[in-house]
C-alpha cells in the first residue's frame, strides 16, 4: 500500500484554518528562518481518512479477535474509559494551570483523580504510597531503582548489585543498569519453575541493593516464598522490588505490600484495562512502603483539611522530576474509571477468571504440546515447541500458523529459560467459546506439524504480507521515505 507521501498532490489541503485577524506583517529574519522546502504531504481530508482507515484494516487488535499474548494482558478495554478521558474538562486542561498561584483550585477535579487513584492503588497492592508519574512499566522500574538508590545513598549504604531472576523481563536488568547498578541473574529451579531459594540466599550480601521479582513469574507460577525472600533481603538492608507486570493474576488475592515488598510498579495498561494503543501510551505508577515515601518524585498530591487538593513540591529528599507533570494523566483516568466499574468483588472476579481461563487452556493444550512446568498456573503458562522444532517446525511457525487460524499469536521465545517457548495468556474477558476455538486451532496445527509442516513454514498466507525479510531490514535500514 502506498505511503501517505506518495499520495500527495501539490496544492491540495486537508484542513480549514481561520483567516488571520491581526496585522500579519510579522516575519522571522532570514538568518533564523527555514531555507529548505517543508516537504510535507498535500492531501484532502478524505484522502487522509481513507489512507488511515486502510492502514487500520491491516491491524489486529483485541477488538478484532483473541490476543493471547503472554505477559501483555490483552484484555478487553471498556469503551466508557475512552469517553471519560475525552471529557473536555480533562482533555483540554493545561498541566501548568495548578502551578499558578491558587491554580490548584482551578484543577480540583484532576487533582482529585490523582489523589483517589493513588489511594485505590495503595489499597489494592497494600503499599503505603503511590506516585502516578512513571509513564510506562519500564519507566516505573527505572523510577523504582532510582528510589532504591536514593534510599541507600541517604542511609550511607554503598551497594552496587541488583539480583534478578533469570526468567525476568529484559526491562528489569536494563532498568537497573540505567539507574547505575550492575545486575546478577538468579537461577530458576528447573524442577519446580520457581526461584532457586538456596542460590538466592547464597547470593544476597551487603553489596545487594535490591532483589527484583515478578510474581507470578513470567512462567505464570506464583512464588509463595516471597515473604521469606523479603526477610532475606531486609537482613542485608537490601530492598525488594516487585514488578507488577502480572498483577492481574492476583487482584484481591495477594497484596505485595503484605509480603514485605518495598517498591513496586503497576502496569495500568495491563491490569486496569487501559488500551495498549499499538505499543503505548501506557502508565507505570510506582508504590512504596512508608520508609521510601520521602524519596518519591515531586510533585505529590496532598489533601488538605478542608478536603481540597494541592500539589506539594517541597520535599527535600525527593528524587526530583521524573516526568514533566503528573504522569500519563489520561491513562490514569481510565484506570481509575476501570477500578470504579469493578469494585472489590469485580477485581477478584477479574483475577479468578484470568486464572481459570489460563488453567482451562493449559489443561487442554498440555495433551498436545510439551508443558515444561506442569502445575496449576496463574494467569499464563508457557509451552515448549522443542519436540516440534526437532521435526522442523519451530515456535515461530506455530505462531504464524495461528495467524492463519484467525488468532493473534502468543508471545514467542520468552522467557529465555524455556526453549522454543510459547507463552499464552488468555485474560479474563475471553469466553469459553473463544478458548475452545483456540484449542481446536492449536490441535489442528499440531496435526499439521506431522502432516503438512510446509503449510506452517509458509504461514501466514491470509495476511496482507508474508513474513518480512528482517535481515534486509536491519542491513538496509530504510527508516524514512526521504529524497536520496
Amino acid at each position: 500500500m502506498s505511503l501517505i507521501f506518495e499520495k500527495s498532490v501539490p496544492g491540495r489541503t486537508g484542513v480549514s484554518l481561520p483567516e488571520c485577524d491581526v496585522p500579519s506583517d510579522a516575519y522571522i529574519p532570514t538568518e533564523f528562518s527555514r531555507q529548505s522546502d517543508l516537504d510535507l504531504c498535500e492531501l484532502s481530508e478524505l484522502d487522509v481518512v481513507r489512507h488511515f482507515t486502510a492502514l487500520s484494516e491491516k491491524n489486529f487488535g483485541v477488538d478484532t479477535g483473541f490476543y493471547p499474548l503472554g505477559s501483555c494482558t490483552m484484555k478487553y478495554n471498556p469503551k466508557i474509559l475512552e469517553e471519560v478521558a475525552a471529557l473536555p474538562g480533562f482533555a483540554e486542561l493545561h498541566p501548568f494551570l495548578p502551578q499558578l498561584r491558587h491554580g490548584g483550585m482551578l484543577t480540583q477535579g484532576a487533582l482529585l483523580v490523582l489523589y483517589e487513584l493513588e489511594r485505590l492503588l495503595c489499597e489494592i497492592t497494600g503499599m503505603d504510597a503511590f506516585t502516578l508519574q512513571p509513564l510506562a512499566g519500564a519507566h516505573g522500574e527505572l523510577t523504582g531503582m532510582m528510589l532504591i538508590a536514593a534510599y541507600h545513598r541517604d542511609k550511607g549504604n554503598t551497594k552496587s548489585v541488583v539480583l534478578i531472576p533469570d526468567e525476568a523481563h529484559g526491562t528489569n536488568p536494563s532498568s537497573a543498569a540505567t539507574a547505575g547498578y550492575t545486575t546478577t541473574p538468579v537461577p530458576t529451579d528447573q524442577e519446580t519453575g520457581v526461584l532457586d531459594m538456596a542460590a538466592l540466599e547464597s547470593m544476597v550480601d551487603d553489596r545487594t541493593a535490591a532483589i527484583m521479582l515478578t510474581n507470578p513469574s513470567t512462567l505464570g507460577i506464583f512464588n509463595g516464598q516471597i515473604g521469606k525472600i523479603a526477610e532475606i533481603a531486609h537482613r542485608h538492608d537490601a530492598l525488594v522490588y516487585y514488578d507488577g507486570a502480572n498483577l492481574n493474576a492476583v487482584l484481591g488475592r495477594f497484596r505485595p505490600g503484605d509480603a514485605g515488598v518495598d517498591v513496586m510498579h503497576v502496569n495500568l495498561h495491563k491490569t486496569f484495562g487501559t488500551p495498549h494503543g499499538s505499543g503505548g501510551p501506557g502508565a507505570g505508577p510506582v508504590g512504596v512502603s512508608s520508609h521510601l515515601d520521602p524519596y518519591l518524585p515531586v510533585s505529590r498530591v496532598v489533601k488538605r483539611k478542608d478536603s481540597t487538593y494541592t500539589l506539594d513540591y517541597d520535599r527535600s529528599k525527593s528524587i526530583g522530576y521524573i516526568a514533566p507533570f503528573y504522569g500519563n494523566f489520561a491513562v490514569c483516568l481510565k484506570a481509575y474509571a476501570y477500578i470504579l466499574l469493578h469494585g472489590a468483588d469485580g477485581l477478584r472476579e477479574v483475577s479468578g477468571n484470568a486464572v481459570l481461563n489460563a488453567n482451562y487452556l493449559m489443561h487442554a493444550l498440555k495433551t498436545v504440546y510439551e508443558l515444561p512446568f506442569d502445575r496449576t498456573c496463574m494467569h499464563e503458562f508457557v509451552l515448549s515447541a522443542r519436540e516440534e522444532a526437532k521435526a522442523g517446525v519451530r515456535a515461530v511457525d506455530i505462531a504464524k500458523g495461528l495467524i492463519d487460524e484467525g488468532f493473534h499469536p502468543p508471545t514467542m521465545y520468552f522467557p529465555l529459560i524455556v526453549k522454543e517457548a510459547l507463552m499464552i495468556e488468555p485474560t479474563e474477558t475471553e469466553s469459553k467459546e473463544t478458548l475452545d476455538c483456540f484449542i481446536a486451532a492449536m490441535k489442528r496445527i499440531a496435526a499439521k506439524v506431522k502432516d503438512a509442516p510446509d503449510s506452517l513454514h509458509n504461514a501466514p498466507c491470509t495476511t496482507p504480507v508474508g513474513r518480512p525479510d528482517e535481515v534486509k531490514a536491519a542491513k538496509d535500514m530504510d527508516l524514512a521515505y526521504l529524497a536520496k
Partner: protein, 128 residues
C-alpha cells in the same frame, strides 16, 4: 572443522598470529548461533585494549554480542569490508570475516588460550 592454526577463547573468539600482529575473529560456531550478521561495530584503530575488554560488537536480527579481546594489545587494523558486507562473518568466519588486528601483544598470553580441541569441548559442553 575447527582450524588448528590458531587459538580460541571460551567466549568464541579466535586469534591467529600473522607476523607481528594477531588477527581476531569469531568462530564458525559463534556465527552459526548468531544467525545472519547485520552489523559489526569495529573498534578504533590505535585503541589500547586489555585482555577481556569489550572491543567490538556484532549484531544479528535476533542477538547482539560483544567481542572480547583475547589478549591485551593495540588495535592495528580493522576489517573495513565488514561495514558494507557484514555477512562475511557468516560466510567466511575464519578468513574474510576477521574483525580486527592487534599489535604490541605479549605472545606468551596466547599460550593460556584454548587450542582447537579445547575449544571444541567447550562447545560440546555448552550444547548439552
Amino acid at each position: 572443522m575447527t582450524p588448528n592454526d590458531r587459538k580460541y577463547t571460551k567466549t568464541h573468539e579466535w586469534i591467529k598470529m600473522d607476523g607481528e600482529v594477531a588477527v581476531v575473529g569469531i568462530t564458525d560456531h559463534a556465527q552459526e548461533n548468531l544467525g545472519d550478521v547485520t552489523f559489526v561495530e569495529l573498534p578504533e584503530v590505535g585503541a589500547n585494549v586489555d585482555k577481556g575488554d569489550e572491543c567490538a560488537e556484532i549484531e544479528s536480527v535476533k542477538a547482539a554480542s560483544d567481542i572480547y579481546a583475547p589478549v591485551a594489545g593495540e588495535v592495528a587494523e580493522v576489517n573495513e569490508a565488514l561495514e558494507d558486507a557484514p555477512e562475511l562473518v557468516n560466510e567466511s568466519p575464519y578468513e574474510k570475516g576477521w574483525i580486527f588486528k592487534l599489535k604490541s601483544i605479549d605472545s606468551s598470553e596466547l599460550d593460556a588460550l584454548l587450542d582447537s580441541a579445547g575449544y571444541e569441548s567447550v562447545v560440546e559442553e555448552e550444547e548439552e
